[in-house]
């Protein structure tokens, strides 16, 4: 659809400010968008965030390093494991601890399962945004399987506090690997089902292809990261570019948007990259499960985390994108400053750039394709 749908020279139109949110079915949380519309056409968007601000960084200045982990859970509540992992990696960099292999493998398995779970929600809610309700329930049903696995792992379904600086809280429970592999076998056909129902549906393609195109340079300039950036053809994945854990050992591809249904970097690409990434994660999990070594997962857990003065910037490829933890330590057991670089924060900042000139319905679709989590944006 072209932006110049309305010929201004013929029709006199005025601008109307539409206030979407903080309570709205498809703002994925308490996000408020001040949309300047011209009929159905959007001329400008001002995102208003902060409704979910929970002073994460202020809390961190009052809590010891161990106690911060549960709070990182609360940041990205759809990918809590990733937040724990990112924070732990940063702290380990600060302490420079060497981790046992088993811990790394467990972390990778868990992180990729979490990626699948998070992408399932992203894909399902995206379908919901464009009006397809059934895919949502199907994806949520599959996500439940992952959550059940995590529940056997650490008892919690959403906020795990499982990955700790220097290790993990528990070893894998009995039968975990078998169950994980069972889940993957069950999961592959589900992706095909999803593709048949939603991805290749004509209406869905009409709604998403060629909509909200994010050019690569714009994305990079705005600091967009993760699937949203890969959707526009940029092959930038920290697991490949800066292998942080043991990702260098595994063989997997980084899916990027190819513009199969429309232009490169359109909404459909951002959506489809996530679908493909689930398959890649499954690949990684299979490899990791195959060569999972033994050992004690608590070997490297420090008695008391008291790093030397200094600072560290840890990067991590979460389900949303490039999570960064900038930790400044002054030698106490309480960090002096913890700054979290939240990917969704940057991804959202590009919204008004790419959704101007489209219709309100498209804004919903674009917002869904950016896959924001307000808990992480507002911290």
């Amino acid at each position: 659809m072209e932006a110049n749908l309305v010929d201004k020279s013929v029709i006199e139109t005025g601008e109307m400010v539409l206030n979407m949110g903080p309570q709205h079915p498809s703002t994925h949380g308490v996000l408020r968008l001040k949309i300047h519309t011209d009929g159905e056409i959007v001329s400008q968007i001002e995102p208003v965030i902060g409704y979910l601000h929970r002073c994460f960084e202020k809390h961190c200045e009052k809590l010891s390093y161990e106690q911060i982990v549960p709070f990182t859970d609360r940041c990205d509540y759809l990918a809590s494991m990733h937040m724990d992992h990112a924070y732990s990696i940063a702290v380990e960099k600060l302490l420079d601890i060497e981790l046992p292999d088993r811990v790394e493998y467990i972390r990778v398995i868990i992180a990729e399962l979490q990626r699948i779970a998070s992408h399932l929600v992203a894909v399902g809610t995206f379908g919901l945004d464009v009006g397809a309700i059934t895919p949502f329930t199907w994806t949520i049903r599959d996500r439940e399987r992952v959550l059940d696995l995590f529940e056997t792992l650490c008892g919690a379904r959403l906020l795990y506090n499982y990955i700790w600086p220097g290790g993990v809280s528990h070893d894998l429970p009995p039968k975990f690997i078998e169950r994980a592999l069972d889940f993957l076998d069950y999961f592959d056909p589900q992706i095909d089902e999803l593709n048949n129902l939603l991805t290749t549906n004509k209406i869905f393609i009409e709604r998403t292809a060629d909509v909200g195109i994010l050019p690569p340079e714009v994305g990079i300039n705005f600091g967009v990261s993760g699937p949203s950036l890969r959707g526009s053809g940029v092959n930038f994945d920290l697991r490949k570019n800066e292998p942080y854990s043991i990702y260098s050992k595994f063989d997997f591809d980084v899916p990027v948007g190819k513009g199969e249904m429309g232009t490169i970097g359109d909404t459909w690409d951002r959506y489809y990259v996530r679908v493909l990434e689930m398959r890649e994660s499954a690949k990684i999990i299979r490899q990791a499960c195959a060569e999972l070594p033994g050992g004690d997962v608590h070997a490297a857990l420090p008695k008391k985390i008291r790093p030397n003065a200094g600072e560290v910037y840890g990067r991590y490829e979460s389900a949303r994108g490039d999570v960064g933890f900038y930790i400044m330590s002054n030698g106490k057991n309480i960090p002096m400053r913890v700054k979290m670089r939240s990917p969704a924060f940057c991804n959202l900042s590009v919204l008004s750039e790419i959704s101007e000139g489209w219709m309100i319905s498209d804004v919903i679709a674009i917002l869904g394709s950016l896959d924001i989590v307000l808990g992480e944006i507002d911290r």
């Binding site: 498809s26 059934t134 009409e206 498209d362 919903i364």
Partner: protein, 366 residues
């Protein structure tokens, strides 16, 4: 074909009231009947829809509010009483009117929409002789009445003084008015062939010849155009942009609550029933049994046909069509406004016009 109206007139003659009293009495009875039909239809259809959606989404749907000891938790079809409970809840719910809304119009709008659906039922036959009043232009009347509701929709959206409602109303107006055209064209095809606007005659024609859907490839196509257009006219997914839940919170009924909202709901499902009954009468041979299609059955089976079971056949066909509508809804995403218009003006209307032309040729040739 006699209507309920006439038969009542005869049967109540012994009261020898004067004409005005008689007519008012009869119309009172007829109105009650229609209202009951609408209410029951809404109750059943909502439960049906919930269950269909639930099973298509691997859920169970309402399971708890069983009646007559039919308690949920064990059987799939539990929760029979759910919609009844919801209806009671809606009726006893607080009725909120926004402070800065146009009170009069906001109160008026639901009744306009409701009466639109209500009036349509008058000319709608459920079987050979089960029709409140039998017009000789019944088809025309139904098409005309079924588009009265859009006035109410516009009023509702405007008087709510809510931007979302306004968007919904505008979209609804554009959508319903445009989709009137393919509907009219595809029905016109039937009229051309059967040469009558009287629904009874149309069914008569199908009885003597064959069902319209099998009349010719064009009629076959026309049926689908008609059916999809009616899906759009009843504002259901994939054409539910007026109440697009993820975009406009609830479209033009955002500000409504309680009884008025229940009226919207009632007329929405009534419209579904109407369009499906019209489709089954006009294209699917109305109260004729499918046995006629394939003549392998002995004559004696044709007892299944005829006025006695007519109501059964009509409602069966209607229910199947309604199920298909729900099936659409739980399968497809939603179209965008301009795409909706595209489908209407650039796909349906050209095809409908072509149909009209070719069917006329067909009639000339055969």
């Amino acid at each position: 074909m006699t209507s309920i109206f006439d038969s009542l007139q005869e049967s109540l003659a012994f009261l020898n009231l004067d004409l005005f009293m008689l007519l008012s009495l009869i119309s009172l009875l007829g109105g009650t009947v229609i209202f009951l039909v609408m209410a029951v239809n809404a109750l059943v259809a909502v439960y049906f829809e919930r269950k269909v959606s639930a099973f298509m989404q691997d859920r169970l749907g309402p399971m708890e509010v069983g009646i007559l000891g039919f308690k949920g938790g064990k059987k799939f079809w539990g929760g029979i009483g759910q919609t009844l409970a919801d209806a009671i809840k809606l009726l006893t719910k607080e009725d909120i009117l926004p402070k800065s809304s146009d009170k009069f119009l906001m109160i008026l709008a639901p009744f306009i929409i409701f009466s639109g659906a209500f009036l349509t039922f008058i000319g709608l036959p459920f079987a050979q002789n089960i029709v409140i009043s039998d017009f000789n232009i019944g088809l025309f009347y139904i098409v005309a009445m079924s588009s009265v509701g859009v006035i109410g929709i516009i009023l509702a959206g405007w008087s709510s003084n809510n931007k979302w409602s306004l968007y919904g109303a505008m979209r609804a107006a554009a959508q319903i008015i445009s989709y009137e055209i393919p509907i009219g064209l595809s029905l016109l095809l039937v009229v051309i062939v059967s040469g009558s606007l009287h629904l009874g005659d149309i069914v008569q024609w199908q009885e003597t010849n064959r069902w319209f859907i099998f009349h010719s490839p064009f009629a076959f196509l026309a049926f689908f155009i008609y059916f999809i257009s009616t899906v759009a006219e009843t504002n259901r997914t994939p054409f539910d942009i007026p109440e697009a839940e993820s975009e406009l919170v609830a479209g033009w009924m955002t500000e409504y609550s309680g009884f008025r909202w229940a009226l919207f709901f009632l007329s929405e499902y009534a419209n579904m029933l109407i369009v499906c009954i019209v489709a089954s009468i006009v294209f699917l041979g109305g109260w004729l049994s499918p046995l006629h299609l394939i003549n392998i059955f002995p004559e004696s089976w044709y007892i299944l046909d005829g006025p006695a079971l007519g109501f059964f056949w009509v409602s069966l066909k209607a229910v199947i069509l309604i199920f298909v509508m729900m099936w659409f809804r739980w399968t497809f995403p939603r179209l965008r406004v301009d795409q909706l218009m595209y489908v209407c003006w650039k796909v349906f209307i050209p095809f409908a016009l072509a149909n009209l032309f070719f069917v006329s040729l067909w009639e000339l040739i055969f």
